[in-house]
């Protein structure tokens, strides 16, 4: 149950974002993708999710190329949290979270009692139970993000590809979200997330992929790559290391 890319070249709008990338995301691993704005993190994630066709190379899940899965089959195995879903959903929060059960749905007309139970559980995890009946488009940005995370969780996949899961979230919900995905990782899921927060990358990711603006990629264990030298080169600004209570992170020095 490994998500694997082989010889992957990804381009968008004529710009090559990465070249001949080989990567394996194994069960129980949590990967962070870090890089500047516009480096192509989201496009790389979408390519790994099978939503963007690669220029060359292939992505495979369980050693079978993604294009050999039906879309529905694939959606039973991997969940994707998008930064921008490109849509205005008119239904309630519960309806929206239930969409995560769509790939698993067997009856024509309705979701099963089990689907509803899982959706309720997802709502509880994200503290949305009270908002379940509200129309999704009346929620705040952070609440909507939590609904999207709940939906991804409800999909109960073995591989989670998350594009900026922490966007719009307050500190408590950031912690809850990361805890939830850490738990999934410990249960044997493969997790990959695009992050901007170096603290969370330090804390939760065992592997990182640094995507440089010029298309260079560095990948490896987080402990080796999350150093000041690498990160300063990555973000092209000088960083200051901060430590406290046994944890360390980096902030941009002004």
């Amino acid at each position: 149950m490994t998500l694997q890319a082989h010889n992957l070249t990804v381009a968008i709008g004529g710009k090559t974002l990465c070249h001949d990338l080989d990567i394996s995301i194994r069960p129980g691993e949590c990967w962070g993708i870090l890089g500047q704005n516009g480096a192509g993190k989201s496009t790389l994630l979408r390519t790994l999710a099978g939503l963007h066709p690669p220029q060359t190379g292939a992505v495979s899940w369980q050693a079978v190329a993604l294009q050999n899965y039906t879309r529905r089959d694939l959606a039973r195995h991997r969940a994707v949290l998008l930064q921008n879903e490109g849509g205005e959903f008119w239904g309630s929060v519960l309806d929206y979270v239930l969409l995560g059960r769509f790939p698993h749905r067997t009856a024509w007309f309705r979701y099963s009692a089990q689907d509803h139970a899982i959706a309720q559980q997802a709502l509880t995890h994200m503290e949305l139970t009270e908002l379940a009946a509200r129309p999704l488009n009346t929620l705040s940005g952070g609440e909507r993000q939590r609904a999207a995370i709940a939906q991804a969780w409800a999909q109960q996949a073995q591989c989670y590809l998350l594009d900026e899961p922490l966007q719009h979230l307050d500190l408590r919900h950031q912690a809850q979200t990361m805890q939830m995905f850490t738990q999934l990782r410990e249960q044997g899921c493969a997790v990959l997330m695009v992050l901007h927060d170096l603290f969370w990358a330090q804390r939760c990711c065992d592997h990182v992929l640094l995507q440089f603006a010029d298309g260079q990629i560095m990948q490896g264990p987080a402990s080796e790559l999350l150093t000041r030298t690498h990160l300063q080169a990555l973000y092209q600004c000088s960083l200051r290391e901060v430590t406290g209570e046994g944890e360390r992170s980096f902030v941009a020095s002004v």
Binding site: A49, L51, T70, R71, R72, D73, L74, A75, R76, A79, V80, L82, N84, E85, G86, G87, E88, F89, W90, G91, D95, Y96, L99, G100, F102, P103, R105, W108, F109, R110, Y111, A133, P135, Q155
Partner: protein, 327 residues
């Protein structure tokens, strides 16, 4: 319960079912020969029993059923197109199908051919428009929906210009017939059994795939991530909506507002899950058009008015009121 609390879909279904029965019985009893509901029931039960039976079976029932079917077709087409095009302003005519039908019908009228040929020309015009817009504008995917939408709008605009040209060229005696066609008129419905068949088929299909339609409504990228094969779904939606529209045009010309209005009214009442949105829109669309058509043929009797006037006059205030209530 506050006024903005969404209504239970089940309750709404029962209400709209009653509204449908009410509008149908009112439509059957009103006209040049007023009948009581009991007389209508008697006539329906005894098809060959005097003048009342003849009026009900020969004159009113075909028209009333045509109106109901036409309204349902338009409402369902509206639901599907608003989901396909991800645009709340989409209505069955936005893709230029009615434009093609209008050019076909008006050209035939200008040539002075008979009713059957006029219908045939409008049908061919609609099919040509459907294929042309599909061929020029359809590419599957997130951003390409706008391309389809714009192609349809452009095509409509072109057809609109041709329609103006035809109206200018037409001798004044023919202009009124043309205007009736353009505003929608249910006095010569064609192909009711076929239209009802298409409605039944597409309606059932849409219900079976209603879960996927909900996913599509949540955003195309999301839908692809959740297992929807975008290309197939979008193509199916396009042709389903086009078939509904073509059938509606055959029944009543281009009747405005129903396809745009009805899905929004149901959504504003708090139902947006397709499993309910589809049947509720079909019921409301049908009843609404039956009511509008009954007004159109009785209000100024014996003069018959174009039904499109009444769909707008009734629909616009209701929609504005619902919008205001929500805000």
């Amino acid at each position: 319960m506050s006024t903005s609390e969404p209504m239970s879909p089940r309750l709404l279904f029962i209400l709209l079912l009653s509204a449908a029965v009410l509008s149908l019985s009112l439509a059957l009893s009103n006209g040049a020969l007023p009948l009581s509901v009991a007389e209508v029931a008697h006539a329906l039960w005894h098809p060959a029993d005097g003048i009342a039976s003849e009026v009900v079976w020969q004159l009113r029932l075909p028209r009333v059923l045509a109106a109901f079917t036409c309204g349902s077709l338009l409402a369902l087409a509206g639901v599907l197109l608003q989901t396909l095009l991800r645009n709340p302003l989409a209505d069955p005519y936005i893709l230029g199908i009615s434009g093609g039908a209008a050019v076909g019908a008006l050209s035939a009228m200008l040539l002075g051919v008979g009713l059957v040929l006029i219908q045939l020309c409008s049908f061919s015009g609609a099919l040509l428009a459907m294929m042309a817009v599909f061929g020029l504008g359809f590419r599957s995917g997130e951003r390409n929906v706008y391309r389809l939408l714009l192609t349809g709008v452009m095509f409509s605009a072109g057809c609109g210009a041709l329609v103006s040209l035809l109206l200018t060229l037409a001798p004044s005696a023919q202009v009124q017939g043309m205007l009736f066609w353009l505003m929608g008129d249910l006095s010569h419905p064609q192909g009711l059994p076929l239209a009802a068949g298409v409605l039944l088929l597409v309606g059932t299909g849409a219900m079976i795939f209603s879960g996927g339609l909900d996913v599509l409504a949540g955003g195309l990228d999301k839908a692809a991530a959740l297992g929807i094969a975008l290309n197939r779904w979008q193509m199916a939606l396009y042709f389903a909506a086009a078939a509904l529209t073509v059938m509606a045009l055959q029944l009543g010309g281009s009747i405005g507002f129903v396809g745009l209005l009805i899905p929004h009214v149901i959504r504003l009442l708090g139902v947006s899950i397709h499993r309910w949105l589809i049947p509720l829109s079909i019921l409301l669309g049908g009843s609404f058009l039956v009511a509008a058509d009954t007004l159109a043929r009785t209000l100024w009797a014996p003069l018959q008015l174009p039904v499109g006037v009444f769909t707008a006059l009734l629909g616009v205030p209701v929609m504005l009121w619902l919008l205001g209530r929500r805000a």
